[in-house]
Amino acid sequence: MKKLGPVLGVHLSTAVFLVLLIAFDPFSKISDLLDFLFGAPPKWTQVQDMYRNPETQEISHGDDPVPALQSLAQYWSRHPEAKRVLFIGNSQMYSITLAPGEDPPTGPEKTYVDLVADEVMRAPERLLVYRFSAGGMSYPEALWFIQYVCLNPSLRPDYVFLQMNYQFFWTGGIRSGMLSMLEEPQFREQIETRITSGEFYAGGFKEALKAYQDMKARQVSAPSGSHGGSGSAAASPANFGYRLETSARLLLDSVPGFARRAAIRDSFTKLLYHARLYFLRITPSTARSITGARLLSSRASIEAIARLCNGQHVKLVLFNAPVNPNVSLYRTSADRNTYHQFLTGITEQFNIPLYDFEDTVPSEYWGSLLNGPDPLHMGRKGHQILAGRILDTLRTVTATSVTAKGS
């Protein structure tokens, strides 16, 4: 019993320190310190208070799109006469990094898609704009999403404006938030068909389907070993251990502060990211090549999107996103050529219009990201300029489309 004191002492001290660390979030404090030391722009330049409207935006940014799409289906069904325009892209569509000289925000800020949505609502020919955007979105994710909305007549758009961006090609995979879309049996079937296609995105889809199956197994307390194969003992049903774990998690989740672990993870990841930027000087704008599996998977996904839209009589429009003129994302001129040749190639192959807005927004309308120019996120004025260009395009595209249908 004499030893009980020290053992309890160690456990108690650990618990106290853990609570303090969770409350204090040391990683975020170190990040802030680094920002201060390296002279990062004020935090308010990364606008936090963004305009939100579930009728025109998928507000979870890919973390939970199914409920958002259910309410969208209801909203769109109430306006059967209106044409539906779906914008798909990455965080450029929902973020604003204020440029030098731009005032701090005084209320919710709108991005170019929000501005376009406002404008078209006022137009006599009814257009309904909806934005699906997610940070670091991949083209397989775009294909996944379009496949889903094309299934349901109340979600099927008339136009899809798909953002093209060089950085978009660096990403891959399907985020876990989008797995719940597989609840829809018909969609799951189509994904299974795509998996058997042997296309470059098929591997990512297969992994996503497997992750979904694991998730489902977990929900019924029957785990599936990720490495266990078909006969894994860990995949056994009626697994008491798994049920116990589920209960333990529910219990811990009810402890105040424990739910902050996701935020702690984000701040740890952010700290590593800031360290990468400040110490290694590898920034989002550091020029690099696109090659390998992710390039092939992105290409195959865009081609599949084009075929899918053709088959569903959905007008696909590609637009090359603006890039900060102060940075060059291409490592070599060959990279730029490869990218542009791909865009040209795909537009010719599938007869898709392509609008190039790469140099649309002048350099003074871009903000800074920590210690360098932000390559992707524009300031307030940048969004206004782009909104104007997109509106012009939208008018052209919809008018062309109407004429084509009329003829």
């Binding site: 030893k3 020290p6 053992v7 002492g9 160690v10 001290s13 650990t14 618990a15 106290v16 320190f17 853990l18 303090l20 660390l21 969770i22 660096w170 990403t171 891959g172 098929a202 591997g203 990512g204 297969k206 992994e207 694991d214 977990r218 070993g225 990720s226 490495h227 266990g228 078909s230 006969g231 894994s232 003992a233 860990a234 056994s236 009626a238 697994n239 008491f240 251990g241 116990l244 774990e245 209960s247 333990a248 998690r249 811990l252 672990r261 702690i264 993870r265 740890f268 990468r276 590898i282 550091t286 690099r288 090549s289 090659t291 390998g292 599996a293 992710r294 390039l295 092939l296 998977s297």
Partner: protein
């Protein structure tokens, strides 16, 4: 329950508290009950497998001890354990063979076999059972009782993924008459927290990159640099994943005053292929050495060619132990070849260039070559198919291309983990020195016990909770 489950950590507190509160006499039965419950919590339908093996080997050894001339009991025991191991571990291969065999009459008897699962940890406790039989045959065991055998094979910290303990290093500790030792207890906590961080923060974070990089569709598009990094990332992932499990197993046992054998000793710091196997999965490699390689080699009385052939053959079996996959066998054969190459070099060096024994350059060259060779061998081990492994290896050695195909974070995180892996032994050294000096100074000891350690534990637990991915199993659970 995997050791990184929240429920396991909560239940562990209860198990350990009750253990120390119980009278010594009852502790053995208590641990047997806990071990059976632990196994059943995972796979209740297979709990009879380790129990049956325990009973089978107990009966055989009892007869064997009564009369060591009764070789039949020894053989019977080995055949019994091996049959169960082969049936459960390789039933999918057997099923495929059966289906092929009966294809001409359009029968598929193998389909029935496919439905059979794999009892968790069967490869591990089967090897313990075999070593128990051999030790009894070699008169290293004097007496035996069923509760000892049962606890030896089903001891919950190491039943699922080792370390593979020997009878003589584990069973003598089952008297449970050791008093509670604070230092051992603290050292157990150290190992558990270290394991939690290694698993959740390091191994699981590498997992998503490795999984994407090894997708069959993308392999042909990977560049030379991608493939080297993927090999490195998987090498680090499997090491930290398995070391994490071993640390938690050893730590758990320490909490109740039991010492399990070590399984890893900074394997990527190995000086040569032979040294690698004295650092990697140490309990398996010593099992293979003592119970397979030495007896086989003794038959050939050290003749060179049979020695080399047996080295490759034994390592191929080590590969096969991981599962009925060609990739595992190739991995084993490659390691066999590395060992042969090193032995060949050593023979040649001692005959012709004895002065090179202490050469720093030759040592460094072997260390670098070993690391590269180990990375190369991990490729077929992890690849989904032989074709994929060949594609990746071809790209690693021919047709160089140094562009990067994945997010720059993949390369940076892999390098960061590699840097930690390099620093690991030095950090361990610093911590050991600090602990030693803390013991001598009462104030420092108190500060260490109530401030420094809890702070480190809390920090480790914070990272463990933050990076928790319930769905990622330990890699070695499949073996």
């Amino acid at each position: 329950m995997p050791f990184n489950y929240y429920s396991y950590l909560l239940v562990l507190v209860l198990i350990v508290s009750v253990f120390w509160a119980l009278p010594v006499k009852i502790r053995r039965w208590y641990l047997i009950a806990v071990s059976i419950a632990f196994y059943a919590a995972w796979t209740p339908q297979f709990v009879f497998v380790p129990l049956a093996i325990a009973l089978g080997v107990f009966l055989c050894v009892r007869e064997l001890l009564a009369d060591t001339a009764k070789r039949l009991w020894f053989r019977l025991g080995i055949v019994f354990v091996l049959s169960l191991l082969i049936f459960f571990r390789y039933h999918e291969l057997l099923a495929a063979c059966l289906d092929t065999l009966f294809e001409f009459v359009r029968l598929h008897p193998g389909q029935l076999l496919f439905a059979v699962g794999v009892p968790l940890g069967i490869s591990f406790y089967s090897f313990e059972a075999i070593s128990f039989l051999i030790d009894a045959r070699q008169k290293r065991i004097k007496q035996v009782n069923f509760s000892d055998v049962c606890l030896y094979l089903m001891f919950w910290p190491n039943v699922v993924s080792g370390p593979i303990a020997r009878w003589r290093e584990l069973v003598p500790q089952f008297s449970f008459n050791r008093a509670f030792e604070l230092n051992a207890f603290i050292s157990g906590l150290d190992r558990i927290v270290l394991g939690l961080v290694q698993k959740n923060l390091i191994a699981d974070n590498l997992n998503s990159w490795v999984k994407e990089g090894f997708l069959p569709q993308g392999t042909q598009a990977n560049t030379t640099l991608d493939n080297w990094f993927l090999g490195l990332a998987f090498a680090l992932q499997i090491y930290f994943d398995f070391a994490a499990y071993s640390n938690m197993a050893i730590g758990t046992a320490k909490l109740i005053g039991i010492n399990l054998p070590e399984n890893f000793h900074f394997p990527y710091h190995a000086k040569n292929p032979s040294d690698f196997w004295s650092r990697w999965h140490m309990t398996l490699s010593r099992w293979i050495r003592d119970y397979l390689f030495f007896p086989v080699n003794a038959r050939f009385q050290g003749a060179t060619l049979p020695l080399y052939a047996s080295l490759i053959g034994v390592m191929a079996l080590v590969g096969l132990w991981h599962g009925a996959g060609l990739g595992f066998v190739i991995w084993g054969v490659l390691h066999g070849c590395y060992l042969v190459a090193y032995r060949g070099w050593e023979t040649l060096r001692s005959a012709r260039w004895p002065h090179l024994e202490k050469s720093r350059t030759a040592g460094l060259a072997w260390q670098a070559a070993t690391l590269v060779a180990v990375l190369v061998a991990w490729v077929p081990f992890r690849a989904e198919s032989l074709h994929q492994a060949v594609t990746m290896l071809r790209s690693m050695f021919f047709g160089f291309s140094f562009r990067i195909s994945y997010s720059v974070n993949f390369y940076l995180v892999t390098l960061l983990v590699a840097a930690y892996c390099i620093a690991e032994p030095y950090l361990a050294d610093v911590i050991a020195k600090f602990n030693k000096s803390a013991i001598r100074n009462a104030r420092l000891m108190a500060a260490n016990l109530y401030l420094a350690r809890p702070l480190v534990y809390a920090f480790g637990l914070l990272l463990f909770f933050a990076f928790d991915e319930r769905n990622i199993q330990f890699i070695y659970f499949q073996f």
